[in-house]
Amino acid sequence: MKSIIICGVGGQGVLTASNLLSDVLLEAGFNVKKSEVHGMSQRGGDVIATIKYDEKEVLSPLPSINNTDYILSFEKLEALRNINYLSENGVIMVNDFIWEPLTVAAGFAKYPEDIIENLKKYSNELIIIPATKIAQELGNSKATNIVLIGVLASNMDINKKIWIETIKKNVPPKFIDLNLKAFERGYNYNK
């Protein structure tokens, strides 16, 4: 069984990305379970979705400490917040992007400066991607989540065609082109 965490800040498209990923895995023939947290956390709070998949039956939909294979974080601080879930051989992929929490803006707290060092220290493999910058270059920062999905796809062993077909099915027609370009940029980033 494999498990993936997608995390970020409410409004960044975490849940959309996690739905897309679930559909890809289902299409690839796996049993899939997905969990997410709704409610108050949608108002500018942190958001986390977990996807678990296996050829056999998947039981708990929740992530376990030290037992998650991939973490895909849309924001740097959120990557560190979820680092304890990562397994010994896990891969963490982080958008090179800072979204200051309100507590930082209001002066109650400080945005940590040593995030990358800590991520390096506690992970087997760390990939940092300027996904928001790439999406902006493509003309729409909202495509950040698909750039990141592209990076995740390049690290997973699932036929690329399935990803592309699922993106086509999941996004509105006028955004297909943008999203496919975003996916390619992410997919080829680490190569």
Binding site: V32, R43, L59, L62, G107, A109, K110
Partner: protein, 602 residues
Amino acid sequence: MQKELLSGNEAVARGAYEAGITFASAYPGTPSTEILENISKYKDDIYCQWGSNEKTALEEALGASFAGARSIVAMKHVGLNVAADPLFSASYIGTTGGFIIVSADDPGMHSSQNEQDNRNYAIAAKMPVIEPSDSQEAKDFVIEGIKISEEYNTPVMLRMTTRVDHSKSSVELGKRVAIPEIEYKKDAIKRMLLPARARVKHVEVEKRQKKLEEFSNNFKYNYIIKGNSKIGVVASGISFQYAREVFKDAWFLKISMPYPFPEKLFLKFAKNVDKIYIIEENDPIIENFARLAAPEKEIIGKDLFPLNGEMMPDVILSTLGKKDLTPKFDISTLPIRPPSLCAGCPHTATFYNLNLQKVYVTGDIGCYTLGGLPPLNAMDTCVCMGASISVGLGIEKALEKAGKKIKQAAVIGDSTFFHSGITGLNDIIYNKGKSTVIILDNSITAMTGHQDNPGTGKTLMGEETHKIDLVKLIKDGLELKHTYEVDGYDVKGIKDLLKRELDREELSVIIVRRPCILLYKKARWSPMQVDSEKCIKCNMCLKLGCPAITTKNEKAFIVEDLCTGCTVCSQVCPVDAIKFTDNNGLHIADVSIQEYLDGGKK
């Protein structure tokens, strides 16, 4: 067979469709809200609606069952407290068309004020309760529940929990069954609960529960899984999935109907094992029945496992001493990201002013509860839906009796006012209270994700309907002369009105109007910016807690992507340093509220 990945809530909606349900009602509440939202996708086949509160919603669904329709009502766990009165009567009366009551409990309190276990309600009201453990069962149990309801003349409680509601897993889709035609018959003996009849009914209910216990012993979703050890595990709901991940060689008794408890099945299971773990979230419901059934057996339940929170695999493992959960990195040092009112939220200016006025604020449940968090800090109590107004009256009267005086305001949203705030207002009028009641009218039920309510002019099925006007209702209907309206973005207007009305020795109602900013997020409103030359670092704008306002080189800085140009920060700036980036652009605050509602959606 067609398979789809559905959330538990989507699966309940699908189950309602396949079971031939034709009536559905609810009041929104996390984690239950999406059940009715998804049922509305089948609106050609299922009449569906929002009730003003959970009590009316349950009564309406019960009425539909009386009329012969298969019906369903959904609510969050605390909603069932509101609906408890008809719940108990419904059990005595029984059903005509099958009737499902969905209680969405929230172990771990992801978005609730308590962690009550509503299986207790099923036991107290003497009705069967079934607990799905994934989306497939969520769908199947609606269909099963309808059958049980019709065969045993009882409402059936479907106990969901947050993780079942909001997790997705695959579901096999089926066809909608043919709906039996049941002619509506008057039946006062059955449906008019008078003491003399209820005495007879109670005897029948107890007999029914005995029969249901036999049913539970043979219910196909209560089943034994053989193991390779002498350890047994009894589990229900999502805990069943968690437990199976942990206890790999154990025997399992999956309980889908914890009440009436399948005692014979449990005893048959218990014979195979030496030691039994009972894994269930919140209260020891199954455990208590099991201990009564087999007092000689070694049973481990809430004596070891926590009564609070979720029973996820990590919790089970660490309780058993099999996994060390000490984190490799201490995340408690990281800045938290608490939920906050949105940029452009029409509630912000009211809380900013309440904070400055130093009044005692009784609060209520909705997005606006966030006005009680820093930096706004403008709320002193939050009890339950509708309590702001009535709790405020109690405080006022008690202090008056003790010869003390405070300035007190009650803050409540439009949907919560319709839900149960209006009865508190009746009490203030009747008992000559002097409170200032503030209704934050953002024209939607916002916190649960934008559901319509009696004040919005639209039904769940998307039809136009009469819009109850709060000003007319209170000023003309209740004849409250001190009823005032103010724009949510008018900082000075709110301030002046608050000052005047808080000093008044009479009840007044202030209706702060502005639609929820998220209703219009797609419109291109011109944002604002801070003139850093002018900024004197006074931090007044930062006290609004607006997510669009941050600091750059110690001076205020507005993130243009997030700013909606509501102008509230520019109104609190003492040196006039905040201006529109585009003076000729579209400005939210300049658009009248009616125009905004009619044409603001771009």
